[in-house]
Subunit: 137 residues, 2 copies
DNA sequence: AAGCTAATACGAAATGGTTCGTGGAGTGTG
DNA sequence: CACACTCCACGAACCATTTCGTATTAGCTT
């Protein structure tokens, strides 16, 4: 499968609205974005058109106001972007990235630490028995 | 402190050479990069000049062939880029990023898992002390 | 000193991203 | 029907990045 196109910074802003709000019209997205910053309606429209041609979003043109929705899930997109980021900045090694992320200004909560801890334990168990590659849930 | 400029993709490629090889001439960098891809000498030169004007690298112009070195350490730069990436893609929350990074195709080694584990423990101790939630199940 | 070589400086073209204005088409209201 | 309003399509302007060709300068060799 071809690697999906990396969304740019402003494309990501729009995708985040769509992931949070579900399928939306240009107006919906525009209003949401304009809570935080000022951006012209036609700018958002143009972006969504470009994103459509790139295959980042799909649109339903039935109604007068077209309804846009993301093609890929937030998780998929994050994975893709993380993979790229990791290879560009950390030479493809997750551990340094993880260490630094954990040490960030806004640290993880206790629950989150529990989650991470249990994943580490699971990985450690698997690292003994190399051969069986289990895909995750 | 003002946030340092985010290196672009190709600037990062050059920085990685400088971090690995130490202070280098344009020729050094160019040769190293051309192991993997083809890029004109003057392209690398121009990049380094731009990076100098941006303050990403410094150069010693004593010798005929100027010697370039990074202004910021790899660690500093990674921190900066990670922070930006985290806020753009993960809404500033490290834990999801960490979870996904740990589940990546190239997982961490046993030693790395140990490192991560001990950091998680340390953070857990700290988070307990500042919040009075003393449950250690 | 003349000439070759290697380096820097300069500028320009191509590309991609971001922003927005204008025009035209569709929809509902008096 | 005519008016106002909303929406989409298109194109243009602007900016940063990336790439490289040409010109110029500095050093070494004979």
């Amino acid at each position: 499968m071809a690697t999906l196109p990396q969304p740019t910074a402003s494309e990501l802003k729009i995708l985040r609205v769509l992931w949070r709000q579900g399928p939306s019209t240009v107006r919906d997205v525009h209003q949401q974005i304009n809570r935080n910053e000022q951006l012209s309606y036609t700018t958002v429209l143009k972006q969504l058109q470009i994103m459509t041609s790139k295959g980042l979003v799909e649109r339903d043109t039935e109604a007068r106001a077209h309804v846009y929705k993301p093609v890929h899930s937030e998780l998929q997109t994050q994975r893709e972007m993380l993979g790229d980021f990791m290879s560009r900045v950390y030479d493809g090694s997750p551990s340094r990235l993880v260490m630094q992320a954990l040490g960030m200004s806004r640290p993880a909560s206790a629950d989150e630490l529990d989650e991470i801890d249990s994943l580490v334990r699971k990985l450690r168990r698997q690292s003994g028995s190399e051969e069986q590659g289990q895909d995750d849930a």
